[in-house]
């Protein structure tokens, strides 16, 4: 893959620790590197144009010093951190950025990014917040526009065939991630929650085809490994906001549990939904990205009559997939985690907690500041939760 020769887990760790190394190498070879924010800028489009997609993340270990002059301090600390890194020049190697209306703060930060960083290429996807038919049509239109701007940027016209190939490559990645996640089903799991984050961050820092090669190495390595995680008294499912740093999961795993499954956007949420092959690939793509990605940023109306009377039924409709995760990965508890001030996850938490209580799955809600140093008080909560579930 690279001249340096590290493979599998070691390579993922290397990329986790120094995210931009491969993207910068590719840039030096003449490729375009595009920063994108959140899950909605369609990876297939970057891939079809041979552009290196690079997810914009924050850094829990880096104090936020510059972003506070352009964003309020009482908003999502992850987005503040990501913007802070941008302002500090850590993302200066981008040839452009694609932002989206992920949530309110994401939208504001996107425009602030444009003003302060002034990227030579900038595109904003105004992702709808509902999933009904007109919203899907609107999103498809957004993707058509996005494609046109990329055509203008690269001077290349995109054929349906090329886009279909990109869909295949990206779907391959999704299948491989599922295969990797299947290796967490055994007890002990073959991959720790901490390692999963390293792998996921690595995937979001390199081209999709390179990610696929890396995933294959990791899956082979994990299958044959003897140095995997130890058996622990509890197996947990982790739900919530973006986790792009190992510190929180490490703290949980040191408290006496293996994190065996997740529903976060640097995890299964980003990879589990597949793109259905359609005549016009944009139909399958708009459906997959808008409807099938289950992020609380998208509002889903109650579908079962009277929301009060059919509360549990509606919760089942919204969160039933988590019951399946818990069953398939044999989790005995759920950690609901959120960075402070995340409204969208905050709105989903009470209902989700009610649902988990209803199906008898112990759960705890923890909120953190997206800072490595501020995790200590959470240790007592997590350990107390593990003692409580026995």
């Amino acid at each position: 893959m690279t001249a340096k020769g590290k493979k599998g887990f070691a390579r993922a760790k290397e990329l986790y620790q120094d995210r931009s190394q491969r993207a910068k190498e590719l840039k030096a070879e003449g490729k375009k590197v595009m920063g994108y924010f959140c899950l909605y800028p369609v990876l297939e489009l970057f891939t079809a144009f041979d552009i290196v997609p690079y997810r914009i993340l924050g850094d829990m270990g880096e104090p936020i010093t510059k972003a506070d002059s352009c964003l309020p301090t009482i908003v999502c600390p992850f987005i503040r951190s990501a913007l802070d890194l941008g302002l500090k020049g850590k993302y200066d190697f981008f040839d452009g950025v694609v932002m989206c209306h992920s949530c309110e703060v994401g939208e504001k930060a996107a425009h602030i990014w444009r003003i302060y960083m002034d990227p030579s290429y900038y595109h904003f996807l105004d992702t709808p917040h509902t999933v009904h038919e007109p919203a899907q049509q609107q999103f498809k239109g957004q993707l058509e526009d996005f494609q046109k701007t990329l055509e203008a940027l690269t001077g290349k016209k995109l054929s349906a065939g090329k886009l279909k190939d990109a869909v295949d490559i990206c779907n391959q990645q999704r299948v491989l991630v599922r295969e990797l996640y299947d290796l967490r089903k055994s007890d002990p799991p073959l991959i720790s929650g901490t390692e999963i984050i390293e792998v996921m961050v690595a995937l979001m820092s390199i081209p999709v085809n390179e990610g696929n090669a890396l995933l294959k190495q990791i899956i082979d390595e994990a299958r044959g490994r003897t140095d995997g995680p130890q058996k622990k008294p509890h197996r947990l499912l982790l739900w919530g906001t973006v986790i792009d740093n190992t510190a929180l999961v490490e703290m949980i795993e040191n408290a006496g549990a293996n994190v065996v499954m997740d529903d976060t956007c640097v995890g299964s949420r980003a990879y589990f939904p597949m793109v259905e092959p359609t005549e016009n690939p944009l139909d399958g793509l708009s459906r997959r990205y808008l409807v099938d990605i289950k992020c609380p940023r998208t509002f889903r109306e109650a579908v079962y009559g009277d929301p009060k009377k059919h509360y549990i039924k509606d919760l089942e409709h919204r969160f039933g997939y988590l019951k399946d995760y818990a069953r398939e990965w044999n989790a005995d508890g759920v950690i609901l985690q959120s960075v402070r001030y995340c409204d969208i996850h905050g709105y989903d938490t009470p209902g989700l907690s009610d649902y988990l209580n209803h199906i008898g799955l112990p759960n705890i809600y923890i909120e953190h500041d997206y800072s490595e140093g501020a995790l200590a008080p959470l240790r007592t909560r997590v350990q107390g939760f593990l003692e409580l579930i026995g």
Binding site: P377, G384, E387
Partner: protein
Amino acid sequence: MHEVFRDHPIREGSLIYFAGIDLGSTMTKVVIVDRDGKTLSSLVGPTGAEHRRLANKVMADALMRADLSFDQVSYVVATGYGRINIPFADRQITELTCHAKGISSLFPGVRTAIDIGGQDAKGLKIRNGKLIDFVMNDRCAAGTGRFLDVLVGTLGLRIDELGEISLRATHKLPISSTCTVFAQMEIMAWLSQGTPLPDIVAGLHDAIANRVGKMVKKLKIEPEVVFTGGVAKNIGVVNALQEYLGLKVSVPAEPLLTGALGAALLGKELTLKAMAEGKPIHEKELRLAESTFFHTENH
């Protein structure tokens, strides 16, 4: 090096003891119990920056009071926020579980416990002596012992006189409970207006009761309610909490010690269970603390 006898098999009927050590943010507490769960000695000392040395000291003093040597203690459970810093402990268990255990041993009918310590406040929901749910304050220590610690300075009072003084209040002042610094500014304003101290102190106690009470209400409070932690020694806060909750609140004779007591009792349960099952009691063959423990004492 000190010789260690503790890992020798314990015979049925022999005299064995269990210690719980609760290393809180402000105070370190030790309780030693016998195999019937009876408290033989207990001790409270300040937690300093040097957790380990002071944990050793408080432990050694407690042993001396009980006329025991460290060898005679079969199992040590550490709890409290500094629990991971205690090298001579066999096991660490959170203060949530330990408080629930300790409080239930004193008040078997307890269903809700409120603990306000030096830097945190927690609510525990307990059923049949077992912890079933909990809430804790956030990172901010407003509404905890630290809140009072900071504000007594502004008032020129001692922490232990606050309770009595508040009883003389004729009019409770509203004081903001969200932030210690805000509260401090408000107090300065009241003082400059010549407001009587008892009214200010009573307002502070109300602020704590509101903040902690609101948090604990998330657990759907049911009686019997027990209030522990250093702040439970303050009669003013006890009254304010009763008023806020509209329920009688019981306070143990030694509200600081319930965590350490629970830790000792949990250690006893773990040991007796292991003995009954014929399993080894200690996972580690020799705890690294033994030597440091006694040597530190001699210096």
